[in-house]
Symmetry: D2
Subunit: 357 residues, 4 copies
């Protein structure tokens, strides 16, 4: 599922080294799972669910700190009001299509009930982007079982990218989009931390697409690859999930989340009106158990934060580009086709502007 990762094409972005997998799963304990839903009957579905466990087996028992930032809030991420209040994330969470946020959100409750999580109520996180161009969104194809499957098959290790999970039917900068991931190793505070990003990329105008500063979107003209859709550039959205093993406080997770904006800008995202550009950052460097009245925590000193910010921006940038290079051309609802970003013209553009030998 996927054609290439950006670096396999000889293209790299950013200044910091990647983690071993160049994936969000380079942050220990993070697991990613996908349910990919592709069928033409009873309705044409090109959709799915992506599940993320922030803290391994004991995600429910030992919360992590988290925060979110909305760069442009034409989208949904449930659970954020509590995250904003106290900065705790104590559950796996999911990304899906816009019209299935509810079923997936309730599925997270049911999944916790099923697994006898000793907690009265649940306020789970589910985010979305809209795939109604390629998928019959009004047929509501996602079920509780799809969410359960994504949660169950979540694993550490390499992460499938492109037309998978919640990203199955997505469009990005007028090419086929979807799920992408990347990571950075960040030397600061006397040690090396990892920052990973996972995106569900479904935003953007073609003319604004840049790769390492090269105006790829304008180079790969509409004559070459037909436009995905004849719609205003303001359609679409991007969900960015940032993970780090650094011991950040909630207020620092918020700072990290905001840096997805920089990485997004480098690829060409400006938060168009119709875009739900919502970023969730969590940090596993503190784990918060239940039932301790006072909890020991740690905090990276503020003046040690900048490299983490850079890591977050770079990982976001590369995760989007990985989504674009991994995603394959797809035909779906009403016979519409969205073309993949063509890799040869991409490399040609990079060469033309002196970025590829």
């Amino acid at each position: 599922m996927g054609r290439a990762r950006l670096r396999e094409l000889g293209i790299s972005v950013g200044l910091l080294p990647t983690g071993p997998l160049n994936a969000i799963t380079d942050v220990a304990g993070v697991r990613v799972g996908h349910s990919t839903i592709i069928h033409d009957k009873p309705s044409i579905a090109r959709t799915g669910v992506t599940a993320i466990w922030p803290g391994g087996d004991d995600t429910w028992a030992r919360a992590v700190f988290a925060a979110y930032h909305s760069f442009n809030g034409n989208g949904e991420m449930t659970g954020t009001i509590w995250i904003d209040e106290q900065g705790l994330l104590a559950s796996p969470f999911c990304i899906t299509n816009t019209h299935s946020v509810g079923v997936v959100r309730d599925a997270l409750v049911a999944y916790a009930v099923k697994h006898k999580v000793p907690q009265d109520w649940h306020l789970p996180v589910t985010a979305e982007t809209y795939d109604g161009w390629l998928s019959d969104a009004e047929s509501f194809p996602v079920t509780q079982e799809h969410a359960f499957a994504a949660l169950d098959n979540a694993a550490s290790g390499p992460v499938s990218e492109g037309n998978v999970g919640g990203g199955t039917g997505m469009i990005c900068h007028d090419f086929k989009g979807g799920i992408g991931t990347a990571s950075r190793l960040v030397a600061t505070a006397g040690t090396t931390f990892t920052v990973g990003a996972l995106v569900q990329a479904n935003y953007g105008a073609r003319e604004l697409l840049r790769v390492d500063g090269v105006p790829v979107g304008r180079e790969i003209g509409l004559t070459e690859v037909r436009s995905a859709r004849h719609v205003p550039q303001s359609e679409g959205s991007i969900i960015v999930v940032l993970a780090t093993d650094a011991p950040l406080l909630p207020i620092q997770c918020k700072r990290l989340a905001r840096r997805a904006t920089s990485g997004l800008a480098w690829v060409g995202g400006i938060g168009s009106n119709g875009s739900g550009d919502i970023f969730l950052a969590f940090a596993t460097g503190n784990r918060i158990p239940r039932d301790k009245p006072v909890v020991d925590t740690r905090m990276v000193a503020p003046d040690q934060m900048t490299p983490l910010f850079q890591g977050a921006a770079e990982a976001t940038e590369e995760a989007i580009l990985n989504a674009l290079t991994a995603a394959e051309t797809m035909t779906g609802f009403q016979g519409r086709t969205v073309h993949a970003l063509p890799l040869d013209p991409l490399q040609a553009a990079m060469r033309k502007y002196g970025r590829l030998r």
Copy 2:
């Protein structure tokens, strides 16, 4: 459904006059509907859905301005990220129990699809409080049909209070809580506006309960009426919906929403840790049609706002008290009983402190 409204007991709070119905429906165009779910099989359910249409028939076609405030965010209200971004509310919305937020949220999408609302994607608002003390929340008793019914039966006119709709299984200040409503007429800016409140009240410690400043919660001791539950005071939540016909901008709706905090405080709510005290305010004085590139709007001058703030605080206060005086004793899940606020001791306490002749 309900025993009395506060004023029927000879008790009134606040300085401003009420609207004709003393209900949120005093704001023209606002409709309220309930689906009340009470059954003992296949599971014990004491729950429901309350639906609110902010702008009458053309709620979808002509949005209103809105904003929310979270006083203590241990709760959920979907759709708030877009409301925070642009301040538009263009759909009916619902309040239900915590674990049914998803099904009701998706039902709002399906309802819009069913009614052929010409809009690609929907980010509906659904809020919640937790009724798992009286209702078997883990049996997920709410269905799409319940939401549809609440939406369909929504009407202007008097609003049922107490054990109805989303408020069916709720507990407030250790007495039976639920849905309550009230309104105020506000003379400002050379005219008279209406501010209405509707609450789903499920929060609070008994000892903090006050009625017009009288410490009713301490007066009606636990020996008199058994405690609803033996749980920390931090359980529970309150959703407050504020409506006004004043032409407020989104930033002014936010100001209004924040004043629910004052009304809540007057009754004894301090936003305990486990409480989702989330307030949504909308203003029908501006209607925003689709497809106009520039929209004419109006704004109450800032220095005319204070009376509206007072109206919002007073209506919130009285709506909570109406929920308490309307709600009836209920027995539910695991044989638990939650007692209604006893009206005679309430009046006795008011008399003792010089508020009732």
Copy 3:
């Protein structure tokens, strides 16, 4: 300077016990100092500066965590953008009149320079309320030296209240206002913490004034004590400073700050349009040294927070009332007189409503 504290009148509010001084200085390390400026030449000045050291001698060397909340932002508090970003407060701070915020803010920079604080730049906190009714604000009577004096004379121990420091010329609920303070002992998380409040109270309509729920403002009619001014109720502001020795994270300081809203509401403040109701909360239970790359911190568990919230609300309420009972009638600019809250009628009103024997 001052007539009585509320409890000396036999009146108490709230459920929690006070600290030994019933003052913000019950939080170890907190120091308060005042510069009171009262002169009739060269201009009529009834103003001053109140300085607060959050962390004793090593306030500069070991920061505390802090956060602010604006209930109604018609006011100024400098330094809040950095507090919002990282939650650190590493400097003493001041409260003064509206038009002297700048000189006092720069004085805090100069004071740090003078004391050779090893830090390149400073973003100090200075807040204000407006005293232009009693003081010729446009004569700019506050100088750097006044700020230095308040900083230098700050001390632990009892705190002067009423017409002192930044509170000198203030008006509250149409009576003479000013500085007030109070504290609460809070048993939670297996120990006892202290929460203290200090207010500069300059807000409010007379008819909304309540003492322990008794409508004192309406009981002490305008015939009895002339109105302070013939101005809309929306004039005025209140700055609330909350301190605790609990180990709160910045996000938890924000939660605490928000509870000043409840205490304010109990006295009758609804955040009128012209009011700058801005609350700063800091917690000394974590101290953040310079130059440590990773800092050990602690956090009160979220479910242990509610008693601290109640303490914050109660301390705010009583601090305002202490300002009112301490402040003395004052005549100032243009011969205007603002009357003190008369203590005998206050006690009579409390008696009438069953609160005082």
Copy 4:
């Protein structure tokens, strides 16, 4: 004062056309003035004040809507609490050095008093970046008179850039920074609006500097032009002022302000820890008079906003680059020299990467 504007070097960035002046003053009514302070006695000063009038002569009488966004809040902008509350800006405002925020802020009060603005209290906006590398910041060289001069000499027409006004002593991406400006014409909502930006640029690491995607910072190595300072990259800040004649509501000004993040990212700013990256956006398309109880306003429809967002991002990007190409090498405090961005190597780098013929 200045060497070149970016476009005079044959380099252009962005897709949208510029306004006639390519300056914030392309927005009708906007005036900019500078007080530049350069002296070696009694202290070495390289600082100043930049004043901006958002709405021409009647700035005080007819407010504009405004909002701010803090991308990284290690900085100060006074007056923002009221802007956040109600979205009104009714005064000229200033940008200066960090330690002179207070004197300039109070000067704005005094200036309004001097001009008999009929308003009791003032909450003016003053922002800052830190110039203590080149200027003896602890000598506090800025006076009220400097602020008055900047306010008095503010004018429409071309804007001086580089080492002027508040930007005099600033450093950007390790080269000499300062004031820069740019504008865009934005076709949307059936008309053409102007978006202008003015920056006081004092942030950034050299290695992250990009011009139209070209890694200029790494191309112009440290061997070629000595580093400005041997300090962590996290020093410095940027203030961005965005102006538009579009009729935006306050909530929409906030959306616009946030887009400065994108333009900043394109040049290489990631909001390092020590950076005060604070953005103020105002819109002159609505003017709010005093004393009207209900004010007619207009709003660009949300789905017409995206081109304005792009204009804001592009104008910010180009304003920063104009600051860099205009600013001249400067020697100051303690004999330190900060080099200007060398224009020939800049053009060579652009040529190397195919952006300049």
